[in-house]
Symmetry: C2
Subunit: 269 residues, 2 copies
């Protein structure tokens, strides 16, 4: 029994879809969320830069006395997970491995599609993890750079988003893949559009949900769950720049009135 | 006669449209371009942050012995132009004032539309400047957040870009405005789509072109033009992170084979 909070971080708002799944699956746990809004996006930055950013964020989260950390950002997961795991003794998990494991469990024909930002697809993180689990699986990655701006513009159920999705996902229909990993934390918000284009027979893997399940196992294994009921939603949200747009978007994703968002200077950590 | 280069900076690739106009209008001048690709985008960041970034970039450009600086970024222009002008003795100009002046010259009905990123529209920089020149002009701003990602995805002449443009520009047709300022350095690349939606009678102001004219006047006034012919395109390009995507995009905008792009650590300045 451990009442300390769970640290969750992302380059911006996207990781809130992961925080949401954690809050739903583990309602007793408190979440400390950090969104690096001053330095978003991570996708176009180098490994060295992302490792430095991730170290700073872990140091900040440790000052908030977290008991475990979830890297809810595919780029930071790809570039920095191993580095920060070696550097800090606290349990740290990413979103990619739980997503990759589920994809391998779900596929029947071993043709798996992965969609994400340019950075995530170029990093081949999902392909590598999937092929570590099953070297025979064929993984087809496709960058969908417009999905994040479309979601952030609120075009969730929109003909333009559908048209763009149709263009991006055409590649997958040729193969054909039977499983698609939503390899970017924004994508669960347009899951319906993606499902519509791909058809009912394709299984969509949401790594956010798989990560929450993974975190639950980790807390149980380490005997650090919180059994104290957290009915007041004692979650805290931090950003590195301007909280305004973050709050707006967070309310849409989390669907409950939020605590005020605090701004910190992440370069101090 | 002064053979030193002109410094031009932006948060990323967009300012290259300004560099392009400068190279076309002032073919003898050498350009040192800096794109802050590690910290892009500026639009969502605070004034304090943008002033600090701009100071660092001016200090870097001074190490390259520039004779004048153009802030080819609407956000940096809006938040930091006055601050850096006070701090450094070198001539520094932005893109917004030349654009605002041209808009007031061009309008017949004194209803002027301004399009840009959320940051630029919220800053009201064009409205303020236009109303300083002519307090009677009505200025209608409209943020078009998807234009930058659409342009960067290469959807220049595309039905999706046209559909999005139609939605964004509907407001202007109601008023109706007779002049529209392209208040973001990416927008000249989709000028044709915007012109098509707005119709032939609406005058589009390209601040990049107006800024090049303004710079020419400044060089003449200060007697610091370069009369030595620069046939070899001796321009230099610097970025703060990963040059790859920058080079790709720069070739499209500038339309000539570029010098290799160098990466520097801007936090050192």
């Amino acid at each position: 029994m451990d009442t300390r909070p769970i640290g969750v971080f992302d380059s911006g708002v996207g990781g809130l879809t992961v925080a949401k799944e954690i809050m739903a699956l583990l309602p007793n746990e408190k979440v400390i969320y950090f969104g690096d809004t001053a330095r978003v996006p991570y996708g176009s930055k180098s490994k060295t830069t992302i490792v430095r950013y991730s170290q700073q964020i872990v140091r900040f989260l440790l000052t908030e006395d977290v008991k475990a950390i979830v890297i809810a950002c595919n780029t930071a997961n790809s570039y920095a997970l191993e580095e920060v795991k070696e550097m800090f003794s606290i349990p740290i998990i990413g979103v990619a491995l739980p997503g990759a494991e589920m994809a391998v469990n779900a596929t029947q024909n071993y043709k798996i599609g992965v969609i994400g930002t340019e950075g995530t697809i170029k990093s081949e993180i999902y392909s590598k993890l999937i092929n570590q689990i099953n070297p025979g699986a064929e993984v087809i990655g496709k960058a969908c750079p417009l999905f994040v701006p479309l979601v952030e513009e609120g075009l969730i159920n929109d003909s333009v988003t559908e048209e763009i999705a149709r263009r991006y996902l055409d590649d997958f229909k040729q193969k054909p893949v039977d499983t698609v990993v939503l390899g970017c934390t924004h994508y669960p918000l347009i899951e319906d559009v993606i499902q519509k284009i791909m058809g009912d027979k394709v299984y969509l893997v949401n790594p956010a949900f798989e990560t929450a399940k993974n975190l639950k196992d980790l807390l149980i294994k380490n005997n650090i769950e919180n059994s104290e009921i957290n009915t007041n939603h004692h979650h805290y949200f931090y950003v590195s720049d301007r909280a305004e747009k973050f709050e707006e978007f967070a309310k849409i994703i989390l669907n409950y009135p939020m605590m005020p968002v605090k701004q910190i200077n992440i370069e101090d950590y």
